[in-house]
């Protein structure tokens, strides 16, 4: 009997674990180690953050789902990996620390034949003074990165709405809280959902809403922007983003590294080196992401963390980490199999794998401060990669160690994204987009780097309906309800 251990039960790890359990059957064991008792459909946190959904609507208990799937569930967080075993055994193992009530703080070593690291991001609030401490959100801003954060954000928003109703003008500042953030799409959704809710509450005229981000142009989204075919033109996402911001009366600051946050004020440095500050009554700033801080040790107990993980804490996989300057970047730098180059039974998927380099062009201010989006790994690629990795491992277990690995390169994969711009059955809107491939391939598609036959976007009510249907479909799939395997990632 082989044992596969999946670290992280989020979008990518849950996909990998559930497919592996289905393909392996009861002859082999799948173990999931994840610190939370509940699964969270993170994209819908945006609607929780404006009071349009409850925490219960975007989360569900993992234990019954894993029991149904025959998956061993450990409510714990992984601390370290021993890919060569230790002095007394050659069997690789992972050390975990339980987070489940009653067992908090106790540790256990779990031996494995294969391991998938799908631990997602550490929300690195501590990287910006005043934004938070370590992975904990500070007191000056709100967040929508977890369901609990989003509930708190909706309460703060409601307080602002009440103040506006009493005639007190409010300033909203939404965007990224550091020069090296990703996930601009989530902040984009949140700013327009807030604008929509303020309209609904009849207080829009009492609000000044401003965007602040590390993008060098509006609409970069961490993917270097995208060109969409419209009316026979290939039109940059910059034009569409600027158009929407203008239409909805939202100002923007771009190329900004937020370097300090205090009560009611954010300080920032711009790409041209100038410094500025922006006051706010309500602010949601996405933190930068890092790896969750797993350590690795060899058989002798020596620390080999830098062999297994990149400096940002994400796990090294089959990517080209030596590509160098932007001019040298190639689509082929991006990983295909997500196998660790040192230990062939270790894989990483979703946000947990170390990308070879950003997708957007690296930039820095004359003071040397890097200010550019880091690469996003959104839901669809995270799911597809999780499934491909599970497939590779299952083939190795079922067909033999030499079974070929499955490939899922982000340079050869598209993504469908639906960015909400306001919730409502008849007055909601969302930007529905597809991008192919996610990582531009300028050799294959000179000019825009993408196939404009498969890269498109439009805003409207239909996008909102799709977003709402996807909410229910993905929770249905994650709960492993009838037909779950038919719903694509």
């Amino acid at each position: 009997m082989a044992r596969l251990v999946v670290l992280g039960g989020g979008v990518s790890g849950h996909t990998a674990a559930t497919f592996a359990a289905k393909w392996l059957g009861s002859a082999h064991e799948v173990v999931v180690v994840t610190p939370n008792a509940k699964w969270n459909w993170i994209p819908s946190n945006i609607w929780v953050g404006v009071g349009q959904m409850s925490k219960e609507e975007v989360t569900f208990d993992l234990a019954p789902v894993y029991a149904k799937a025959g998956i061993t569930y450990k409510q714990a967080k992984a601390l370290s990996l021993n890919p060569e075993g230790n002095a007394t055994s050659n069997k690789p193992f992972v050390t975990i620390e339980f987070t489940a009530p009653g067992k908090e703080g106790t540790t256990e070593n779990i031996e494995y034949d294969y391991i998938i690291n799908a631990t997602g991001p550490k929300l690195n609030f501590g990287a910006t003074p005043g934004l938070g401490e370590g992975s904990n959100l500070g007191e000056h801003t709100v967040s929508v990165c977890t369901a609990d954060h989003a509930v708190h954000a909706s309460h703060e928003l409601e307080k602002c709405i009440q103040k506006m109703k009493k005639g007190e003008r409010q300033k909203f500042l939404i965007g990224t809280g550091h020069g090296m953030c990703t996930c601009q799409g989530a902040a984009f959704e949140y700013i327009f959902n807030i604008e929509h809710e303020l309209n609904r509450a009849g207080v829009r005229d009492m609000a000044d809403i401003k965007w602040i981000s590390n993008e060098s142009f509006l609409g970069d989204f961490g993917v270097g922007g995208l060109h969409m075919k419209t009316m026979g033109y290939a039109v940059s996402s910059k034009i569409f983003a600027e158009s929407l911001f203008t239409e909805r009366g939202v100002d923007w600051i771009i190329g900004a590294h937020v370097n300090k946050v205090e009560s009611g004020k954010a300080h920032y440095e711009l790409l041209d080196g100038t410094m500025g500050e922006e006051e706010f009554n309500f602010s949601m700033l996405i933190p930068p992401f890092a790896g969750v801080g797993l350590k690795a040790f060899d058989k002798t107990g020596e620390d080999i963390t830098t062999t297994v993980f990149a400096p940002n804490g994400f796990m090294k996989v089959d990517a080209n980490y030596a590509a160098g300057a932007y001019e040298n970047w190639k689509a082929s730098d991006w990983p295909k199999t997500y196998q660790n180059p040192t230990y062939s039974n270790m894989f990483a998927c979703g946000i947990a794998f170390a990308p070879p380099h950003p997708i957007s062009k690296p930039m820095s201010s004359p003071n040397g401060t890097p200010i550019n989006p880091t690469p996003p790994r959104t839901g669809m690629p995270s799911g597809i990669i999780g499934k491909a990795v599970a497939h590779s491992i299952c083939d190795k277990i079922l067909k033999g160690e030499n079974a070929p690995l499955h490939e899922a390169s982000m340079a050869n994969m598209g993504a469908a994204c639906v960015a909400s711009a306001g919730k409502g059955l008849f007055n909601g809107t969302a930007a529905a987009m597809t991008i192919y491939p996610v990582v531009p391939d300028f050799d294959k598609y000179p000019g825009t780097g993408r196939d404009t036959d498969y890269t498109f976007g439009e805003i409207g009510l239909a996008g909102h309906w799709i977003k709402h249907i996807l909410h229910h479909l993905f929770i249905w799939k994650a709960k492993l309800k009838a037909g779950w395997t038919l719903i694509p990632e």
């Binding site: 100002d251 192919y436 409207g460």
Partner: protein
């Protein structure tokens, strides 16, 4: 005031002076249920093509 409401947010030589802005017809169509049902079908088909190219 003879200007169009949809264009009122644009400020001369500000950061939003060089973008495009939708007129009343384009905005109406975004939430026109009949039109959006058609768009719903088309967007889903387009997304399915991209999804099938990616798996």
């Amino acid at each position: 005031m003879a200007g169009k409401k949809e264009e009122a947010n644009i400020k001369a030589y500000s950061q939003n002076f060089t973008t495009m802005t939708p007129g009343p017809f384009a905005k109406k169509m975004r939430t026109c249920v009949i039109f959006q049902i058609i768009r719903f079908i088309i967007i889903n088909l387009k997304m399915l093509v991209v999804v099938s190219k990616s798996h």
